[in-house]
Amino acid sequence: MLEVLESVGWVTVQDGGRFGWRRFGVPPSGPMDWFAHRAANRLVGNPPQAAALEIGFGEVTLLAHRHLVLAATGVGYRVSTALWTFPLWTSFVVRAGETVRIDRTGWGNWAYLAVAGGLETEMLLGSRAAYGRAGLGAPLTGGDRLPVGRPSASLDELAARTLSAQSLLPYSPSICVDVIPGPHQNVFTAEGRRAFFESPYALIEPSDRTGYRLQGIAVERADRNELPSEGMAPGSVQVPADGQPIVLMADGGTTGGYPVIAVVARADLPLLAQLPLNAGAVRFRATTVDAAQARYRALLHVLDNAIQIEENPHRLAQ
C-alpha cells in the first residue's frame, strides 16, 4: 500500500480512461499526457492502461507501506527519497517505511507515478480514473491510502529499467502540433483560419483537465449563430465568440456547441498537455487523419519496445 502524506495541486488516480458513458455525459478522463502515463506503467511491468498517480501543477509526498517498485515520468518534476534523487523515466525500488516525494523543478505541468502491480482503488463505471466533479474518485489528500496490486515480476526484475532517451517525445516550451482540420471550417473566415494555422498561441489560465485556454490572434468567425450541440473528442479546438481557442482535454465536455476549427492529433496531445502556462507557444500544422494515425501507432510501437534494463552500479548496490 501507498499512503498519501501530503499533496498540493491536482493529484489524482488515472487509468487509461472511462469508456462507454459519453452518451450519458461522462467524459473519458484518463491521463493528460498519455505517453508519460503509459511509459510509467511499462517501466514497472504493468499493463499500459493500469491506474497510476497523476500530479498536476503540484507535488506529493507518499509513504510506502511495503517494498515497491516505482517509476516517475513527466516533464518538470523530480522524484526523491530521503537518500536518493532518481531520474525520471526509470524504475526504482523503495523500501517499506520510506517516503517518496515528487516536486516541481521547472517548466512542464504533469507527472506520473506508476507502482508495480498498479493502484487498485475503487472502480466506478468500469474505471479508476478520477473525475471529481461527478464524484467519480476525488483529488487525493493527506491520509488517503492506495491499495497496490500484484507486480508482474519480482521487484528485482522490475527495478532499474529505463526508457531510452531517443524514445522520449520532443517536449518543449515552444511546440508545433499536428491537427486535423475540424468539421466546421465554413464557420470561420479565411483570415480566421489563417490566424489559427499561422500564428502562435499561448496557454493561459484558467486551464485544467477540462480544457486548455489559448490566447493569440482571434480566430474570426463568419457566422455567429449557435450550433446544435454535438459529440466532442479530447483535442477538439473549440472557438467561442471571442475567437480565443479552447482545447478540450481529458475531462472535457462530451458534447458542445462551439465550432471546432481543428482536432489535435493524439500523438501530439502530450506535448500540448505539458506546454507551460503564460510562458510557452504552440503553433498548429494541418495534417491528415491517415498521417496522424500512422504517427500514433508508430509512437506506441516505439514505447512498447523501448524499455531497457539499465546496468548501473546503483542497481548492484541494492
Binding site: 458513458w21 459519453r22 450519458f24 455525459g25 466533479r133 464524484g135 450541440s229 477538439s236 482536432v263
Partner: protein, 209 residues
C-alpha cells in the same frame, strides 16, 4: 473529427426524424460493435463514433458504419421509455419561477401548467453526467439564459432556457432559469443503472406539493 472519432452529419431532414434515425443507428452500431470501437454519441443532427486508432483505421470504421447506415429502420431504435418526474415548483425549490412568469407575462400557475403539460424527449445528455437536454419547451416559456449564471444550483433542480428544459444531476453552476426541484436521483455511479435518463426517453413533469 480528429484521429480517434468519426463524425456523421445528417443535415437535411427535420430534426425529430433525424434524431430517431441517429438513435437507431447508434443502437445498431452498439448492438454489434466492431472491436476497437469504444462508443457512440448521438446528438441533434450528428452521431460521433469514438474508436481506438491503435486498433482501427479511419477507413475501417467508415466502411463498417457505411455498411450499417443502409440497414437502419426507425423502428430499430429501442422503444422509448416513459419517465414521470415529480417536481416541486417555485419558492425555495424554484427561485426563478416568479421572474420567468413576469418575463413571459404568465402567472406562476400558468407557467407551471405549461411546463408540466408537455411530453418531452431526451435529445442528448451532456454538460454534466446525466444532464438531460429535454425539448421542446412551449413557445410561451422560451427565454434567453440568465444574464449571469448562478455559481451553484443544487442536484435535482429543474430549469429552462431557450427551447429546452433540463435537470441538474449534480450540484453545478447554472445559467438556466431554475423553476423547480425533483427528489429523483439522476445519477448514482454505484446504482445498477447509474443514469435515470437515456437519449430518446420521453419525460413528463408532475407537479407535487
Amino acid at each position: 473529427m480528429g484521429d480517434s472519432a468519426l463524425r456523421l452529419e445528417f443535415p437535411q431532414a427535420p430534426r425529430l426524424a433525424i434524431q430517431a434515425r441517429l438513435r437507431a443507428l447508434s443502437f445498431l452500431l452498439e448492438a454489434d460493435p466492431l472491436p476497437g470501437v469504444m462508443e457512440t454519441v448521438p446528438a441533434y443532427t450528428t452521431l460521433v463514433v469514438h474508436y481506438d486508432p491503435a486498433r482501427l483505421s479511419y477507413h475501417q470504421v467508415v466502411s463498417w458504419v457505411r455498411e450499417r447506415i443502409g440497414r437502419v429502420e426507425d423502428s430499430a431504435a429501442r422503444p422509448p421509455r416513459r419517465i414521470e418526474v415529480p417536481v416541486r415548483y417555485g419558492g425555495d425549490s424554484g427561485p426563478d419561477l416568479e421572474a420567468v412568469a413576469a418575463a413571459t407575462g404568465l402567472s406562476p400557475a400558468q407557467a407551471i401548467r405549461l411546463h408540466a403539460e408537455r411530453v418531452y424527449t431526451v435529445f442528448l445528455l451532456g454538460f454534466a453526467p446525466g444532464f438531460p437536454y429535454l425539448g421542446v419547451l412551449p413557445r410561451q416559456l422560451r427565454l434567453p439564459r440568465r444574464a449571469s449564471p448562478r455559481p451553484r444550483v443544487p442536484a435535482g433542480s429543474v430549469a429552462i432556457a431557450g427551447s429546452q428544459t433540463g435537470i441538474y444531476p449534480i450540484d453545478s453552476p447554472g445559467g438556466w432559469h431554475w423553476i423547480g426541484h425533483t427528489p429523483l436521483v439522476l445519477f448514482d455511479p454505484r446504482r445498477e443503472l447509474p443514469f435515470l435518463f437515456a437519449p430518446g426517453d420521453r419525460v413528463r413533469f408532475v407537479p407535487i406539493e
